[in-house]
């Protein structure tokens, strides 16, 4: 009897090995690799037909058509499309696993002013979601905390790591300010109840303006504090925004309507910060002002309803085109819960259906994003000297029916494109004998 139990135990153990849910990160690149005969989408608008990209020690050493491959290991990509690794510009990946299970939510800290909070230290490299993004071409993500008014700092991580220190691609690159809404609430019967946690009888616009003024006061005090050469007692909150004043960090302002965005511009002017708007659904209405003030924009998911019932039914789809036309630096996102972030390339596809060229749409999820996050020196395009963050797809990566990623490299490392979901599919394909 005992033996039988042991035997059963072994069967289960074996099964669990073949259906392991966590992929091991790939080892460092050892040999030089050349991807040949591919259509290479550089990320900056250029396309090289029948091109080759060579990378060594994690860096791209050569890109072009008809270049010598030397001793590199050749991977024939005939008929395939090569793209820079896609970048998710604002995400709670690795901070939140199952949003309705409180214990798995590490995105929202208590308190309104938390500039010293750092997302990086809570980033869970073993989140099951991460491995489902990579097969769609997403190799990097900016991990953003969600709480309060000043939420803390975000960091860019690469999506193939043993732990958060390994994952860190650019740490603490920006401070996130969630501007209180200046949208008048719906009045009348019932009010909002618990909607948005707003207290009744408080004019949310007035309250919002007061809160925004409090944020300004915070930055004025921080500026004064930072001008002082020595402190008797250290203020961690002020210290946390030093990078903003030194232009080593950017201020990411999460806001949506014109009034809010105009006030955001004022932050850039008064404090000289590099400001990036996140969300910015109505940015198309003041694109010229944003351009004049060098304000970049990260648009939330395009796959959304128009803001107003009167709006053009395709307004969200064509907003990127309007920003492009005005010369605003912008990136696309899909931040509507982590599990859907893998649709980032298809948001770009929609932007292309509604005005952008395909290469412009690609830039909006690669090079533009890298520029906005301050990592364009390392990634965002397939150019010599940059990290070999590369995706190989059977077809157009922006279209779901042809986004079939066959290989992906992060810093030259060929990453495992398997995931829990593929394994579950295989398990049941076996059960039903259908493959």
């Amino acid at each position: 009897m005992k033996k039988i139990f042991i035997y059963i135990g072994c069967v289960f153990a074996t099964a669990s090995v073949s259906a392991q849910e966590t992929m091991s990160p790939a080892p460092a690149q050892k040999e030089t690799i050349a991807l040949t005969n591919a259509t290479i989408h550089i990320g900056n608008g250029q396309v090289i037909e029948n091109g080759t990209v060579i990378f060594s020690n994690g860096k791209i050493t050569e890109v072009g058509a008809g270049i010598a491959t030397g001793s590199a290991k050749l991977i024939d990509c005939k008929g395939k499309q090569i793209y820079p690794g896609l970048i998710l510009p604002s995400s709670q990946l690795g901070l939140v696993e199952v949003p309705t299970v409180r214990a798995t939510d590490d995105a929202t800290e208590i308190g309104e002013m938390n500039p010293s909070i750092r997302s990086l230290v809570a980033y869970n490299t073993d989140s099951k979601v991460i491995n489902t993004l990579r097969p769609n071409g997403i190799l990097l993500a900016n991990i953003v905390p969600a709480g309060g008014i000043i939420s803390g700092s975000s960091s860019v991580v690469q999506l193939d790591a043993w732990n958060w220190e390994d994952a860190a691609y650019k740490a603490d690159l920006g401070i996130h300010f969630r501007m209180p809404s200046l949208l008048t609430r719906r009045g009348g019967r019932g009010g909002f109840g618990n909607f948005g946690g707003q207290q009744q009888n408080v004019d949310p616009v007035k309250r919002g303006l007061e809160q925004i003024e409090a944020v300004k006061a915070f930055f004025r005090e921080a500026k004064a504090y930072l001008a002082e050469p020595k402190h008797e007692s250290t203020n961690l909150k002020f210290e946390a925004v030093r990078g903003l004043f030194e232009k080593k960090q950017k201020l990411f302002i999460h806001c949506n309507i014109v009034k809010e965005m105009l006030l955001a511009v004022d932050f850039a002017k008064e404090f000289g910060f590099d400001v990036v708007l996140v969300g910015a659904v109505d940015s198309w209405q003041i694109a010229d002002i944003l351009k004049q003030n060098n304000i970049a924009v990260i648009l939330s998911q395009l796959h959304n309803l128009p803001t107003m019932i009167d709006d053009d039914i395709d307004q969200p789809f064509k907003t990127p085109y309007l920003l492009q036309k005005a010369g605003v630096l912008f990136a696309l996102n899909d931040d509507d819960e982590n599990s859907r972030s893998r649709n980032l390339p298809f948001n770009a596809g929609t932007a292309s259906a509604y005005g952008l060229t395909k290469e412009q749409a690609l830039s909006a999820i690669t090079l533009n994003t890298a520029n906005i996050l301050g990592i364009a020196d390392k990634t965002g395009s397939i150019e010599k000297g940059k990290d070999a963050n590369i995706v190989v797809s059977e077809g157009d990566i922006l279209d779901m029916k042809s986004n079939i990623v066959t290989q992906a490299f992060i810093q030259g490392r060929s990453i495992d494109l398997n995931n829990k979901q593929k394994q579950l599919a295989e398990k049941y394909e076996k059960k039903y004998g259908i493959k």
Partner: protein, 1030 residues
């Protein structure tokens, strides 16, 4: 007798005390008995006996609170106090048929406001009403207004001052609100003002102070009313199973009264009327002011309406940032709302007017004049305030016109009652005068000879009293001055000199016939007496006001929203030429093929087709597919979840369709033509679903997919066990084990019910048998239909255990679960589902938004399809529904499904699982012409629907859409200009004029399954987050 008259006069002018005409026989007298006759004669008046019957130079005699005689040659009784009404108008006083005058508002029952059917609150499962009443706290049929009524003269005065003399009053609380009482607004003891103790029965779509969770939705309220009608009928048989139920008893007692339903919105009006139709009741419907937006449907109800004159306030539009969020429909409604009564009149609909809902009752007349300016005839207006309500309430024999024998409730005005310059002078209730603006009874304007006996001698002036209190004192010089007159006392003043040297002389006095006597004080403080005698009336001045601008009004669109049609699109014969036709049939994808549409059906498919009657659409280089079918949608309904109980199979989505949902139009732009509107997932056995076609602009009934099999929503797992409730869950079940028990119990009860029904039927056929009455239970009726394969289930489901479990329960009771929807772990039990015979309707790639979907995989659709299930991709989401073709395309990526098979998952496959594949879902001759012309391969991210056709009618056309955008902008700009002009020139007044409010963003309430948070936009509100839905 003369003495009595004097006494009477004295009393008549003393305010604040009762003026009892007749001592109440049973009441002891505390001072001295004071019997009175109250006989008055009103002479030389223009009298409107009714809106249609006018007497000039007529006399009316009243006595003992009643009209005694009225006419042109009436002999005036000697004992009558004669009131000369020369130049005055007399009308029947108005009747307000929708009031809660004298009724204290209901105290919220214990723990009210905590209940609700939403996801996050603790529920109140049972009624908190104490006593032998019914099970549901919002059915308050036992309430009797006459027993809780108490006259309130302060409130009565507010109503009298705007012309009302009597009201129908009731307690505005609950879905059934009991009876109303008809009372006058006289300042008299309650015993005298109560004219009819039970004059009406009242209903509404608001559960009021009831904190009980059920019903929490519009469809729940409708279901509750429907069941209560049946229960009350059954209760007549004195069923032992019920004991005493005073609510049902009252309900039955109230049925012979006029039935008044507070519906308060155009679609609710129709919903109420439909309930009435089912039970042979014609409600009088209290409207919401937007009836003009669906006037044909209103007329078809054949109901009488009660209309309030509460128009939306004008909005400030001085900030473009705020204006950005103001809805065109709100602007249009602001412009058109005053035309509501006129629209009903024009449509021949009977209606009454009420002062209810006005924030400031004093706005009543101004708002009524506005309605008249918008085309309401004065005759109809008067009728709607007098005869119409009296007739509806069956009290026209007592009140509502000025005829001998009727109650002496009338108003005296200075001119035609609705004219802007007319003043309401007196309002007589039950033969007792109430002064309103008595001071205006005499027109004091005119010339007077004034003599002042000052210490420096006699000064004489000619004094001209003009409009607006301006007086001219003409002596040696002409001095300007002022005057006021309150009906008895006069004050005058004039100024000598200018600037800092100006000196003022003040005079006051009393009126005595044609002469005024008084006392004055000059600038030096010298006192003097004065006297003025009337000389002549002021010359009537030519009307200096500019002629009114003719009204420029926008058009009503269908629906009343942006992108609504001024004229509904028509069915056409259409020839779609030379496209790539994806048939979703065995014929597959046909290149360079034509599709001919005739009379709403697909007439031919082939090459080089021609038809001279057809409009040609060139589809060269384009793709043509069947219209997309969404198996799981929550658009176009007013409520989605009735979560008040675990079993709510009696509620019906079809009872509360909302054709004014912009998402119908948006989804047409994504190629959707048919949507299955489901109940939410708040409970194990949810409500009956409704299949619709996206006929944008049609009404609630016209949206319905005719002849489709009825379905019902079931749900399992986290939602039905209320895992997200933040305050604990008192509602059974709290586990998946309990879910099975709810299913077992429900179907066991349904089985027993069916047997009992059959047994009763057989028994009752027998001659001489004592009839058995089984309570008809709509909840169980629906379950019996399921067991008899006349209604089909679509079951919200996620994890394999619950899927398996539900199939076993179904098998136990001999039916099949038609469809598992969501079914994200369907891939784990696909073989079992196939054996059972279920269809599967799923998402493409959603997962991990909650615990029960951590094992969801994007290969699910592909695996289930491969195992041989009929698989659909659904939206459950207003946003994703307009990209369903692309969601289907994800199975090409995840699993390598063929493009044609992928498209089938949003066309023929859902048609099959909805049992409508003989009509829709593929391009086949004879099927409904529900077609989409795409710019590109429909499975591509780059594809746009260019034209979407339903039943041969083009409901979406990208070119037309571009045109409509321009029209919307122009219309919005026009109304904004109007508002701006109004603001600039505003003189005040209600419903426009100076009554401006802050710009109000147009929020969109989105009904969802409440299953997953998909962010759908800045101005959307999840219906579950609203108090009124919880």
């Amino acid at each position: 007798m003369q003495k009595l008259k004097n006494l009477l006069l004295l009393f008549a002018f003393s305010a604040g005390s009762f003026q009892v005409l007749e001592a109440q026989a049973t009441f002891p007298v505390n001072d001295v008995a004071n019997p009175k006759d109250g006989c008055y004669a009103f002479t030389n008046a223009i009298i409107f006996k009714t809106a249609k019957d006018t007497l000039k130079n007529a006399t009316m005699v009243i006595r003992q609170g009643k009209v005694e005689a009225i006419g042109n040659n009436i002999s005036i009784p000697k004992e009558a106090v004669v009131i000369d009404c020369n130049g005055k108008y007399i009308y029947p006083a108005f009747i307000d048929i929708y009031s809660d005058y004298g009724i204290a508002s209901a105290a919220p029952a214990q723990a009210a406001g905590v209940g609700g059917g939403g996801f996050f609150r603790t529920q109140q499962i049972t009624s908190n009403t104490k006593g032998a009443y019914g099970w549901n706290q919002s059915i308050k049929a036992e309430t009797e207004a006459c027993k809780i009524f108490s006259a309130d003269d302060a409130k009565a005065k507010t109503l009298r001052d705007i012309g009302f003399g009597s009201v129908l009053t009731h307690q505005k609380d609950g879905i059934a609100r009991g009876t109303g009482a008809f009372v006058t607004l006289a300042n008299e003891p309650d015993n005298f003002v109560l004219i009819k103790d039970k004059a009406s029965a009242h209903y509404s779509f608001s559960r009021g102070t009831s904190g009980q969770s059920y019903p929490s939705s519009m469809m729940g309220m409708i279901a509750l009313l429907r069941q209560t009608y049946l229960d009350a009928q059954w209760y007549k048989s004195n069923p032992a199973a019920e004991g005493v139920n005073l609510s049902l008893k009252s309900w039955n007692d109230n049925q012979n009264l006029p039935q008044i339903f507070d519906a308060n919105d155009k679609w609710n009006d129709l919903r109420a009327d439909k309930i009435g139709d089912e039970f042979g009741v014609q409600y009088i419907i209290k409207g919401g002011g937007n009836e003009y937006q669906r006037i044909r449907e209103m007329a078809e109800t054949k109901a009488s309406f009660i209309l309030s004159l509460n128009y939306p306030a004008a909005m400030d539009v001085d900030d473009p940032n705020d204006l950005r969020f103001v809805g065109l429909d709100d602007l249009k409604h602001w412009e058109l709302a005053p035309g509501n009564p006129a629209a009903l009149e024009k449509a021949g609909i009977n209606f009454c007017l009420t002062s209810a809902d006005l924030t400031n009752p004093a706005d009543f007349m101004a708002n009524l004049r506005k309605a008249i300016e918008y085309g309401l005839t004065e005759q109809k207006a008067l009728d709607a305030l007098t005869k119409a309500p009296a007739t509806l309430l069956g009290v026209y024999d007592k009140i509502g016109s000025l005829d001998a024998g009727k109650i002496a409730n009338f108003i005296i005005t200075s001119g035609p009652v609705f004219a802007e310059k007319t003043t309401l002078l007196q309002n007589w209730t039950q033969g007792i005068k109430n002064a309103v603006k008595d001071e205006n009874w005499y027109d004091v304007k005119g010339s007077y000879n004034l003599v002042a006996n000052t210490n420096t001698g006699v000064k004489a002036f000619t004094v001209d009293l003009k409009d607006a209190g301006v007086a001219s004192f003409i002596g040696k010089d002409t001095l300007t001055g002022k005057y006021t007159y309150d009906g008895k006392l006069v004050k005058l003043s004039y100024t000598e000199g200018r600037g800092p040297g100006a000196r003022e002389t003040i005079l006051s006095g009393a009126v005595a016939g044609n002469t005024w006597n008084g006392f004055g004080s000059d600038a030096q403080g010298n006192k003097f007496t004065w006297m003025a005698t009337f000389d002549k009336k002021a010359e009537p001045k030519a009307d200096s006001t500019r002629p009114k601008q003719p009204l420029v009004l926008g058009k009503v669109t269908y629906p009343f929203l942006s992108y609504g049609w001024e004229e509904l699109p028509k069915q056409e014969n259409i020839l779609i030429k030379n496209g790539t036709v994806w048939t979703s049939e065995a014929t597959g994808k046909l290149e360079n093929t034509d599709v001919l549409v005739k009379n709403g059906k697909i007439a031919a498919i082939g090459k080089n087709l021609s038809d001279p009657t057809a409009k040609v659409i060139d589809a060269t280089g384009k793709n043509v597919t069947p219209g997309i079918i969404d198996e799981h949608s929550h658009i176009a309904s007013s409520s989605t979840n009735e979560g008040g109980q675990s079993v709510t199979s009696e509620v019906r989505i079809g009872d509360n369709l909302n054709p004014d949902d912009i998402n119908i139009y948006r989804q047409l732009s994504g190629g959707v033509t048919t949507s299955h509107i489901l109940h939410g997932s708040a409970n194990t056995i949810g409500g009956q679903t409704q299949l619709i076609k996206l006929r944008w602009g049609m009404d609630d009934q016209e949206l319905k997919f005719a002849g489709a099999d009825p379905f019902i929503k079931f749900a399992l797992g986290e939602n039905v066990k209320r895992s997200s409730s933040t305050q604990g869950n008192p509602r059974f079940p709290d586990t998946r084990m309990g879910v099975e028990e709810v299913q077992m119990d429900a179907f066991q009860r349904a089985s027993d019910y069916q047997k009992a029904m059959k047994a009763a039927e057989e028994n009752n056929k027998k001659k001489g048998a004592t009839p058995i009455v089984v309570r008809r239970d709509l909840e169980l009726d629906a379950l019996v239909e399921i067991m008899n394969k006349k209604r089909f289930i679509t079951c919200h489901s996620y994890v394999q255990s619950e899927i398996n479990e539900t199939m076993k329960v179904a098998e136990k009771f001999g039916f099949t679960v038609n469809t598992f929807t969501h079914i994200l772990e369907g891939y784990k039990v696909a073989d079992k589902m196939k054996a059972h015979g279920s269809n599967a309707s799923t998402f493409s790639d959603w997962w991990i938004y909650k615990m029960e979907v951590v094992d969801a995989i994007p290969y699910n659709a592909y695996i289930m399809n491969k195992v041989g299930l009929n698989v659909a991709i659904n939206s459950d989401d207003a946003e994703m529904a307009r990209r369903l073709n692309q969601e289907a395309a994800k199975s090409v990526k995840y699993g390598g499904m063929s493009e044609e098979d992928a498209l089938k998952m949003v066309t023929i496959n859902p048609a099959k699982m909805l049992h409508v594949d003989s009509k829709v879902g593929s391009i086949k001759v004879g099927k409904d012409a529900d077609l989409v012309v795409w710019s590109d391969n429909p499975l591509s991210i780059y594809a746009k629907a260019e034209k979407t056709i339903v039943d041969g009618t083009i409901y979406f056309d990208r070119d037309k859409d571009a045109e409509m955008r321009k029209q919307n902008q122009a219309e919005k700009a026009r109304i904004v200009q109007k508002l701006t002009t109004l603001k600039r020139t505003a003189a005040g007044g209600a419903g426009g004029g100076g009554n401006f409010q802050r710009a109000r963003p147009r929020y969109e309430i989105v009904n969802t399954c409440s299953d997953h948070n998909h962010n759908t936009g800045l101005l959307t509100i999840d219906a579950d987050d609203l108090d009124e839905n919880n």
